[in-house]
Homo-oligomer: 412 residues x 4
Amino acid sequence: MNSELQATTDAGRKFVGLAEEHGADFATRADQHDREASFPHENIKAMQESGFLAGPVPEQFGGMGVASVLDMMIGMSRLGRGCASTAIATQMHMAGAWETSRIWRGRENAPPELAAAVENVMRGIAGKQVIGCAGFTEAGTDLSAPMTEATKVDDGYAINGRKIFGTMSPAANIIFTAVRIRNGEGNLRSIAIVPLGAPGVTIHNNWDAMGMRASASHDITFEDVRVPDVSVLGGLPWGKVDANFAEMNASVNLGLISTFLGMAEAARDYAVEMTKRRKGPSGKLLAERIPIQQLIGEIEIELAAARAIVERTGRVADEYFQRNPFGTTPPDEAFEQLKQNQCMKWTVQRNAINIVDKAMTATGGSAYLAGNPLSRLYRDVRAGPFMQPFAPYEALEFIGKVTLGLDPQLDR
Amino acid sequence: MNSELQATTDAGRKFVGLAEEHGADFATRADQHDREASFPHENIKAMQESGFLAGPVPEQFGGMGVASVLDMMIGMSRLGRGCASTAIATQMHMAGAWETSRIWRGRENAPPELAAAVENVMRGIAGKQVIGCAGFTEAGTDLSAPMTEATKVDDGYAINGRKIFGTMSPAANIIFTAVRIRNGEGNLRSIAIVPLGAPGVTIHNNWDAMGMRASASHDITFEDVRVPDVSVLGGLPWGKVDANFAEMNASVNLGLISTFLGMAEAARDYAVEMTKRRKGPSGKLLAERIPIQQLIGEIEIELAAARAIVERTGRVADEYFQRNPFGTTPPDEAFEQLKQNQCMKWTVQRNAINIVDKAMTATGGSAYLAGNPLSRLYRDVRAGPFMQPFAPYEALEFIGKVTLGLDPQLDR
Amino acid sequence: MNSELQATTDAGRKFVGLAEEHGADFATRADQHDREASFPHENIKAMQESGFLAGPVPEQFGGMGVASVLDMMIGMSRLGRGCASTAIATQMHMAGAWETSRIWRGRENAPPELAAAVENVMRGIAGKQVIGCAGFTEAGTDLSAPMTEATKVDDGYAINGRKIFGTMSPAANIIFTAVRIRNGEGNLRSIAIVPLGAPGVTIHNNWDAMGMRASASHDITFEDVRVPDVSVLGGLPWGKVDANFAEMNASVNLGLISTFLGMAEAARDYAVEMTKRRKGPSGKLLAERIPIQQLIGEIEIELAAARAIVERTGRVADEYFQRNPFGTTPPDEAFEQLKQNQCMKWTVQRNAINIVDKAMTATGGSAYLAGNPLSRLYRDVRAGPFMQPFAPYEALEFIGKVTLGLDPQLDR
Amino acid sequence: MNSELQATTDAGRKFVGLAEEHGADFATRADQHDREASFPHENIKAMQESGFLAGPVPEQFGGMGVASVLDMMIGMSRLGRGCASTAIATQMHMAGAWETSRIWRGRENAPPELAAAVENVMRGIAGKQVIGCAGFTEAGTDLSAPMTEATKVDDGYAINGRKIFGTMSPAANIIFTAVRIRNGEGNLRSIAIVPLGAPGVTIHNNWDAMGMRASASHDITFEDVRVPDVSVLGGLPWGKVDANFAEMNASVNLGLISTFLGMAEAARDYAVEMTKRRKGPSGKLLAERIPIQQLIGEIEIELAAARAIVERTGRVADEYFQRNPFGTTPPDEAFEQLKQNQCMKWTVQRNAINIVDKAMTATGGSAYLAGNPLSRLYRDVRAGPFMQPFAPYEALEFIGKVTLGLDPQLDR
């Protein structure tokens, strides 16, 4: 595949190479985990062993030192080719690894205890002791307005609430989770780092969905879970799409959205391979029929656009992160970056859905059978538009508001 | 639902009313049968008991006497609202009931033994003793070129071959199946009526697909299955899209495609209901948000077009069938009718896919969960474009060729 | 063209036949009028002479007695095949002819002076003395909220204001125009019938647009124009999408939207003809190339959907008008009918745009030249989505609101 | 506009800056030239004066030294924002300037007389004496199969034939034109450089199209036009899509396609500006309405994808040109590059059409008037899909064939 994306740094090339190896391995078990809705613990283990999970961690702490977010995105797309569930689960961890590294690189703008905390996390990741996951989504609200409460108690905070889509949780030992802090002046939104083994944390093992069946996106509840002050990071306006909201989501989503590029590439590869092999009633190969060639042409065009927007968004993000160290981003830039990310999200996830659909049409009825990789991808890839932020219609409203110079609060 | 399609005859209204009742009942078990991939025997039984399965059979033989194909289509769309798998399985029987009734109505153009045979089938259906299914599709070929062989033996034919997509077979006792007869002057294509209990017939119970999981679309093999001469109906050119091919497929598909209208209607109803009930973080109903209203608007437009083309195609088909009794159809008219059907197939099945997709977007992430009716419909509805004739790209070529006045053989 | 729409009544068949003849004649001059932006006075004259302009007028007054709105729509679509500008201009008159006939048929629900007034108009039309046009649109507002004022004066009303899109005005002698009446209790919206020759009326001859160049859609101003009381018809709530607004727009738009079906049919016919004649570098006809066949297939599918929704909407409208004589329509039914019309508007106008676009692609670069009918149609057909009510995004909101059972006032 | 494309070299930044200045100036006259179908001689003159026309010419010959094709593409997109006709006309020259510079950079692979000839052309361009145009398209054939004949005569060649779409010809003094050379072993395809002032050359001043009206894309005929041997460059297989065909078209089209990005950006800017200024009946700005925000959001997404694929294709092309000096390109790489260009062509030109369409919808009915920039862009932008290579359906076939590893000759 000549036109696939290429990493831009040495560390990135190594990371992408590992992603390809892992992806090829995971592909062999993707069908089974999908059928059983079983979590691929062995995949996570393999990525921990190879050092892949420590990709963004600086080399001095024992990581691979991938500092380019574009390179991380390309790596995640390669993983997405193999097993979509594993890829999105892995990104739940990778986002934390990336974000802690970013905080550490901009530590002069952070309180010393935060710098120490993230260093700790990074060392844990590189030392193969820490795996993270993320708990942001809740039913009946959106990412800016968590209803899980962090209540100040003597020696820290007590956390109570219920999260959904707790992807990766069975393999993780810490969770980054969004909480609401109520105080005299109103509500604040914050992120808490909670050990998954802490008393009061329950993973409900109840993920049962149309696709992404191996992602273990279980409900997680917190009942009077105690964490120290240092584990509750900052306080931001609750219920607002502000710069911090924009920046945090930008960094989490870059890798997540990129996994859908990999799913599209896997569907395309399968379609190309099968149409070169399969014959019609006259003995003619599918690949020799002009309408099939045109379908492959349509797939390639949508793929070329998806790759291009991943690459451009990643490079723009790399410049953005370098220009704006942690804690210094002007709101306008954060909104512009989230807008660019949302343009990428729309394009990549919608094109990926179309590509899988066309690959099914090109290869014929067998694509509908349960064991066929396209039928799994068809279910997996539809998860994309549900991922926050934003739902497709919200994305249009957000992008439009930013473009028109308006306050980007959604009418919701 | 004011704008839903309405039957045009008294018999039709009774048939559609029964379909609604059955559909509402089947809806309560659709999720379970989907999860278990179990065949809804009780649904088939209920339709046999109510007389619904004898819908097209003339009243003098004990049927409901639905002679309008449009009314049959509307009934099948109502069934499709309840359980898609049951609906397509039922249509496998209904097509036979319809086609035998049509042959009987035009019996002056048919050999007496054929008239007798179809009368027999109709009496069996009305007497709740006969249920039919259809075996047309085979791997690696298309409907015009069956590779299952019917070989002349002393007292009839010996049938050997393998069919796929043997939908409804567990409940049926006869199968209408396409066979190739090789003779001195070349190959012929014919339809054989085979008792499913005959020695040598095996239903493989191997249907395992992404959707339509309760449809029992198993492989069926015939090993030296013996049938009498009268069970092999006529001989037509093998491998050709000719008038008979066009006419037969037209009548089979009219009801089948209509079931997808019902699936779209079910998705639309669910979306309307949920958005009127579900609230966002601010307490606003989803239905009160303009972008949601617009999504519902898009759904309604695609639904209005789907309904209109079902209605027009059905009425045109009714006129066509009246103008051309069995055995008298000029090739040009048969191709024009199949072209109109293919325009309907494209529009209805593609719009249904879009409608389910938009219903998911409108109602939010819960639509992705396994127990949600939309996640089942999303998988079920994608079966449409695989149904022959034709694949989407073949449909475009066929429609184009007929429109341009060319021989409609596909380049395949 | 086998699958074209067919009139349902004898009067309708005569009307549609005339429309075909007129259309074929107008087609010969469409290019010239487009280039010169000249109004086709000779076309209007010919339709007056043939009696076509009196199509909906009851036979007892000398008209053709077309009482089926579906038949009128089919006739207007035939006219649209020949010259789009003439067709939309003619509909400005035809809507008035239709609406006055409807009022007259329901005259027991109307004040006697209104019944007398509309009888007068109908006699004038049938007597080849009266041609009407419509003045509803104004800049900076929408159809429900006219800013042209009708002020009560001693012996009637004084009218002041500016209308845009005064299509057909050069040939008309009366205009049906929307006005605001301010009174003590708030604003009312009304329709005034104004002679175009009255002192104070100016047609500005300033229509200069991308397409529909021969439609004479000039600005019209009213400066202290005096009309008697009987010429100002009723008072309805200003600025509201209410049942009367819905009903009136429904009847006006049915024929207008249908003209776009004719434009699509003309583009399709041209593409079919040219691809059967034109050769590529190898000497192969365009029609013999599979991708061209597929493009024709796509065109046919979009056309089939457009025809079906015109037919269904027209038949539903005929039933609606019969069920609800003038002045008796329940609001819910009026909204439902306008919703159905908007579904038709969206489908027909968008499909027509797509069909012309694909016809251009199929026939090649010559379609881009000024003298080519497709290049004219490409410009003409884009007028559709601008026509009120509603803009496309407003249509989605309106349809959604009606479907969800909400008050259909737009957020504007 | 934060997310617009940025040049990557110093020379490129200067070139892009000039393009912006010229574009802003040209925008002020674009409407007038469109109405009059007059050629913007003053625009060409201004670009010659500023040195812009010598953009790709190496500095040592007096040019700007823009060696990055991406930077040239970005510059052409900026020009496209101002006046589409001027931009595509300019590219007819720019392609020659670029291609001669590329030949010169790879002159060790070229015959010495070719190197001398192209140096001559470049010096002429930098010296403000030479302006080029291109004559490739002919009616009834495609770019690979010119029917204009170059016949060997004693002292060179005699050229006879007719070209269409001779864009830019009124301002040019040389034309690069494709010819067929018939010899004993079959036909060859070649490019001839012909002075437009030579005896026998006629520019027919007959361009009269729907859009691009100021581009002077006249027919050009050659009647026994004599040129020396050195003006006929090489001989390649006639009628074949081979590597040279692929490479030449790649370099010509990169800048041409990029002008459509500029048209899209102009439409987007206009829509953003107008919706921030224009009010509806309630006094609310269009920009404050959520459906308008969503339309702007859709525009931004399509624009982001178009920009990304221009940027990626340009960068990939720069690497390709550096890796493969003139005359050394392996066929596979040439096909891959043309495939990537065709993916860009499809995406950019289709998105540009959609963006203009949505900008019209967002701003309302005034966009349909002749003086509105959107109505001009709507006509201009539709030229894109007609530009060879390839027509949209041919592009799909070509891309599919290359992807599937087949010989990319089209079935035509």
